[in-house]
Symmetry: C2
Subunit: 348 residues, 2 copies
Amino acid sequence: MSDSAYQFPHRRYNPLRRQWVLISPHRTQRPWQGEVNPSSGFSDVHYDPICYLCPGNERAGGHRTPRYESVFIFDNDYAALLPDSPAPQTAGMLPLLRAEQERGICRVLCFHPDHSLTVAVMDEPDILRVVEAWVEQYKELSANPSISHVQIFENRGAMMGASNPHPHCQVWATEHVPDEPAIETESLKAYQAEHGSCLLCDYLKTETDQRTRIICENDEFLVLVPWWAVWPFETLVLAKKHVGSMAEFSAAQRAALANILKQVTTRYDNLFETSFPYTMGFHQTPCDGEQHPEWHFHAHYYPPLLRSATVRKFMVGFEMLGMPQRDITPESAAERLRALSATHFTRK
Amino acid sequence: MSDSAYQFPHRRYNPLRRQWVLISPHRTQRPWQGEVNPSSGFSDVHYDPICYLCPGNERAGGHRTPRYESVFIFDNDYAALLPDSPAPQTAGMLPLLRAEQERGICRVLCFHPDHSLTVAVMDEPDILRVVEAWVEQYKELSANPSISHVQIFENRGAMMGASNPHPHCQVWATEHVPDEPAIETESLKAYQAEHGSCLLCDYLKTETDQRTRIICENDEFLVLVPWWAVWPFETLVLAKKHVGSMAEFSAAQRAALANILKQVTTRYDNLFETSFPYTMGFHQTPCDGEQHPEWHFHAHYYPPLLRSATVRKFMVGFEMLGMPQRDITPESAAERLRALSATHFTRK
Ligand SMILES: O=P(O)(O)O[C@H]1O[C@H](CO)[C@@H](O)[C@H](O)[C@H]1O
Ligand SMILES: O=P(O)(O)O[C@H]1O[C@H](CO)[C@@H](O)[C@H](O)[C@H]1O
């Protein structure tokens, strides 16, 4: 299945998300008189006096960020979810105006005291400390009986809506399983019922056989541009073993996760020699009180850039009203990412 | 059902899209050290020599845009879809690597020769000419036996990925019904089967009774911020009569559509006194050869702005990995839009 076999518009199916994506290679040749974003260079500010995530600085509501030395976790001062929000009045609620209570917990997890860092340029032992903190967060929050799902995610870069450039991620734990992991749960369950095997284990095997979409790997994880990728350089980080969540990781898997995240972000930065923006997050076993033998741990990276460090892909018009559309094949995106150095361009 | 009844996090259900949205009022109070876009001011360039959509200018591939005086329609020089793209090789295709042929037609429809205009500041008779052109496009393309769906959409403003600021929209006609209208079709059908009535007719009645989410209207159309709006100032333009597509519009409905589009875009521009960016498009009866008595014509406006003319809402992190989340209630968004003048701020 060579790349040239797909050099014309076609659509591909995402069996995990149950969605089609339109692939239109060569569209990137069109002239661009649209938006050009500033390129995200690296900062050399290690401590920013106005950053509320830097050690020792003041936050909202009279809180102060302590002089932390490794990771630092706190409840979001502007939480989108609250542990005790009341239920909406449902008495007299009309069938087409449906609302439900949604309680939850929102936390911020600072990766490192140094304001200038990103995962791509952090040392692996420091990333491992972040992984260990994620595992603890997932364990603690998933044991909370009023929580059904724990979403750990990172918005990296102003282009991806990060409201603060300090290296950090967020944890939003919710009373209900949100739509995205709920759809994945359904797909994984249905596949297992039909085939007696795991959708992502079988997919991993297919990709390992073909190798055309694989970017990098280590003993425990594989990174690839999925067959059904929506974003130009979207990747999927798959656990090689069938494991549902971080809580079940061995020490080797935790270290391997730190290693693979550094590998993939390094290649991203090297692609356009910039601090590559992205949204990323983990999908893992919901904690809704049910058994989930079907779940297979993975991470999604959704980066916006398409043409260069300054021109992004816009998921607008046809994408919002019709279906997602991409301008390069997943195979060519994988080829470009695979060919890049494993060493960060600023460290050579 | 007063607005204050919803001043805490909760989730709402979208029965058309079958999706939940998390509503977190007060989140906009958080500090913003993130991206600030340039505000989109109005242009006073009526003719731009380097714009390939301005009359008389050269386009890609040796084409030339004629000296048009009203609307001008042509096949996209960089079409995402082609009428004759071959089928992907399906022989030996693996079950998790599913691809399908997707043929189609992509057109560009210039609204007016004047480079500086937008729908909000065009004269109503000129907008009516655009409506008439849409009706013709829909009729022609939906009669094509290899087309199952006609998507008319406009990306307005650099922030919304418009690759050229000249007033124009696009028409993408596809062999398959794309996912978004396919989901709406399923929802409309299931509702009709269950209730013997139309989901959107019933919703229109609910909103007309409550009035809290209505922004403006005329004899044929109603504009509201839907109960389940995802974008801060998202609106839904509903036909008051149960009509499936533009092809069935009376002359009065065509004129009323021109009028309502000017009304809604004027209010948008007045909100932050800027040329308000958005993606908008029409959802109407698919042309897949089946009967669709369930279909009810409507338009969606998805505008990105949240706080001001320069700070947008980012649908990233939790939204991409979990579920959509909004920072103000639909009721307060509607209240703000409703309170604005119906006259464009530049014309006072
Ligand atoms: O067709 P244009 O204006 O070049 O491109 C714009 O609209 C398309 C259809 O929504 C999108 O796929 C592109 O990402 C966007 O930049
Ligand atoms: O929480 P932050 O960094 O202030 O905000 C960012 O992430 C949130 C969660 O994905 C989004 O809802 C916001 O739109 C985005 O700007």
